[in-house]
């Protein structure tokens, strides 16, 4: 029986294991291995082991440092706007007595559109003679260059990304708000708690694990910024919207410098893993209780 189970288990798990090995384990090992070499994919014979040289060099490379700083700028703009916006929208919609369904759909619409579609649409909206400049002109504001200037391109793309993504986190928060036990509010009302007190003492603490989850996922999402600048600006003007992942992608698949690209990918991955670990640590105790409930519900 035991032997039968191991054969059966491997037969069921085998196909996935083969693909996992080929497309996850092996690539992860190769990325790590390549990051210590000067592997150039067009001339693999000349590969040398260079130790930590790549890790030192990328931080001396102006373009990498700029792409890193740009990515940080994206994170700094996107995270507060998207998390805060999603929370405020969810709180407002949860309280609204009418049109709840319409609001949920309305703010979710951009989520449905792909990154490439949204980027293409906003290129038209941000164009010098476009609809946004026309609208602003009605308020006496001079035409803005938006994605065509090194100063405005990054914030323009960041705000567009918030517009596209905020509905997703709004739905997560709405789910969380609906999961709060109404008895808590009823008890608070008995004690004549004010609206603000109820929000501060019940809503916020109950939403805390969700807030951390949303904060981290939005941060990781912003960290992965690539398609929007790729479609809209090609990383420009003057590399002002060139991001970390963009640099990995171009170094690896356009310039074929797999050694350097792997080093960047490792640095990027380390950041993502650290963020994920922070999230797990911060939400652990509450998550476990919640997860138990969810599993019961899912069945």
């Amino acid at each position: 029986m035991k032997k039968k189970n191991s054969i059966l288990g491997m037969a069921f798990f085998g196909p996935a294991l083969v693909l996992l090995t080929l497309f996850l384990f092996l690539p992860m090992l190769l990325t790590l291995g390549f990051s210590f070499t000067d592997y150039f994919a067009l001339n693999p014979e000349l590969t040398h082991f260079v130790g930590l040289e790549n890790y030192i060099n990328i931080f001396k490379d102006d373009l990498f440092v700029q792409s890193f700083l740009n990515t940080v700028k994206f994170v700094i703009i996107i995270v507060p706007l998207q998390c805060g916006g999603a929370l405020l929208l969810a709180l407002a919609i949860n309280k609204a007595a009418h049109c709840k369904k319409y609001f949920k759909v309305a703010f979710f619409v951009p989520v449905v559109m792909s990154l490439a579609v949204v980027s293409t649409l906003w290129m038209q909206i941000y164009s010098p003679e476009g609809i946004l400049n026309t609208l602003l002109g009605n308020f006496g504001i001079d035409p803005q260059p938006f994605i065509h200037s090194a100063d405005q391109a990054l914030p323009s793309i960041a705000i567009m990304s918030v517009w596209q993504g905020v509905g997703y986190q709004m739905i997560i928060f709405l789910g969380g708000l609906q999961n709060i036990n109404p008895a808590l509010y009823e008890a608070a009302e008995m004690d004549h708690a004010s609206g603000w007190q109820k929000f501060k003492d019940i809503t916020l603490p109950e939403l805390k694990p969700l807030c951390i989850f949303v904060f981290i996922t939005v941060t990781i999402g912003a960290f992965r910024m690539l398609v929007q600048p790729m479609v809209m600006t090609g990383g420009g003007p003057d590399h002002s919207t060139y991001t970390l992942v963009y640099d990995i992608y171009e170094t690896g698949t356009v310039n074929w410098e797999m050694g350097l690209a792997s080093t960047m990918a490792i640095v990027f991955t380390v950041f993502v893993v650290i963020l994920t670990i922070i999230q797990n640590v911060l939400t652990k105790d509450k998550e476990e209780r919640k997860h138990g409930n969810k599993k019961a519900k899912a069945n």
Binding site: Q124, T134, F213, T217, V273
Partner: protein
């Protein structure tokens, strides 16, 4: 219990949200309205409320759409993407489903360790390995082939985990009963397990479809031949063509969004549930 004051606040809240939602949706409304106009009309309407109103229904109403469909390969790109999505849905249900079932119900060696590894793999972002995927597929001579595009996308630790979580709570006595009927484990999986788990099968299918439909980076790396492009990459090649007008651009991005809207309206319950319970399934 609702006081007059609360009622008034409520109305103000609804009013504010209504105004906000209109501002929020202005790009989408503008896109839809102007996708039916020639460029001259788009520019002429720009400075009035007409910018947000579609033109009167006449013979030229669908001109932009017709010219996209007849003059570009866009329908072909949409067809390609549907085909890739269909293949991937079937393969990922089989591969990830079988693995999830093994991790849930079959007591094979190192099962718990494998499960731990799968959970740890959830952290690894695709960007870490995508250049290596490209290298592997290029070395295997599979660039510009459907196989090369699909192969790295089949296995997905998240889907394995999702299947495992559902399968683990399936009752064991059904399996024992099925064994008495001499039903082999593979047959049992396809005729009993999957049909009993319609929700998770639907969830995995929907998210696989959305991933394939919206993905940009991987297809742009694998496909350079125009015959095989997915809709998102084809979109780029159409809009970057100088002969494409603004109205046609808006028509093409509307067309590409229609299938996703259909999927969202059919499966909104699964999607919202997926979003709220896991939240981590993005792009």
């Amino acid at each position: 219990m609702v006081t007059k004051k609360q009622k008034r606040i409520n109305w103000i809240l609804v009013a504010v949200l209504l105004v906000l939602s209109i501002f929020f949706l202005f790009p989408v409304i503008w896109m839809l309205a102007n996708s039916f106009k020639p460029d001259a009309a788009i520019t002429a309407d720009m400075n009035s409320i007409a910018a947000f109103i579609p033109p009167a229904l006449n013979g030229n109403f669908f001109d932009n759409y017709v010219s996209i469909i007849t003059n570009t390969s866009f329908l072909r790109y949409m067809g390609n993407t549907l085909l890739y999505a269909a293949i991937l849905i079937v393969l990922s249900i089989i591969v990830n489903g079988l693995a999830g079932y093994a991790l849930a119900k079959i007591n094979f060696p190192f099962r718990d360790q494998w499960l731990m590894i799968i959970i740890m793999l959830l952290i690894v972002p695709t960007e870490t390995v995508i250049t290596i995927h490209f290298l592997i597929i290029a070395k295997a001579g599979l660039l510009n082939t459907i196989v090369g595009y699909i192969l790295p996308l089949i296995v997905n630790p998240f889907n394995i985990f999702l299947f495992r979580q559902v399968f683990v709570s399936l009752p064991d006595d059904v399996y024992e009963a099925a064994q008495l009927d001499y039903c082999g484990p593979v047959k049992y999986f396809f005729t009993m397990v999957l049909p009993m788990s319609k929700t998770v099968v639907a969830t995995v299918s929907v998210f696989t479809f959305l991933n394939v439909w919206n993905d940009y980076l991987w297809p742009s790396l694998v496909f350079t031949s125009s015959d095989l492009l997915t809709a998102q990459i084809g979109l780029n090649s159409i809009t970057s063509n100088e002969n494409t007008t603004m109205g046609q651009t808006l028509a093409v991005i509307t067309l590409i969004t229609i299938p996703v809207i259909i999927i969202y309206s059919l499966f909104s319950k699964q999607i919202v549930e997926g979003v709220t319970s896991t939240g981590s399934k993005e792009g």
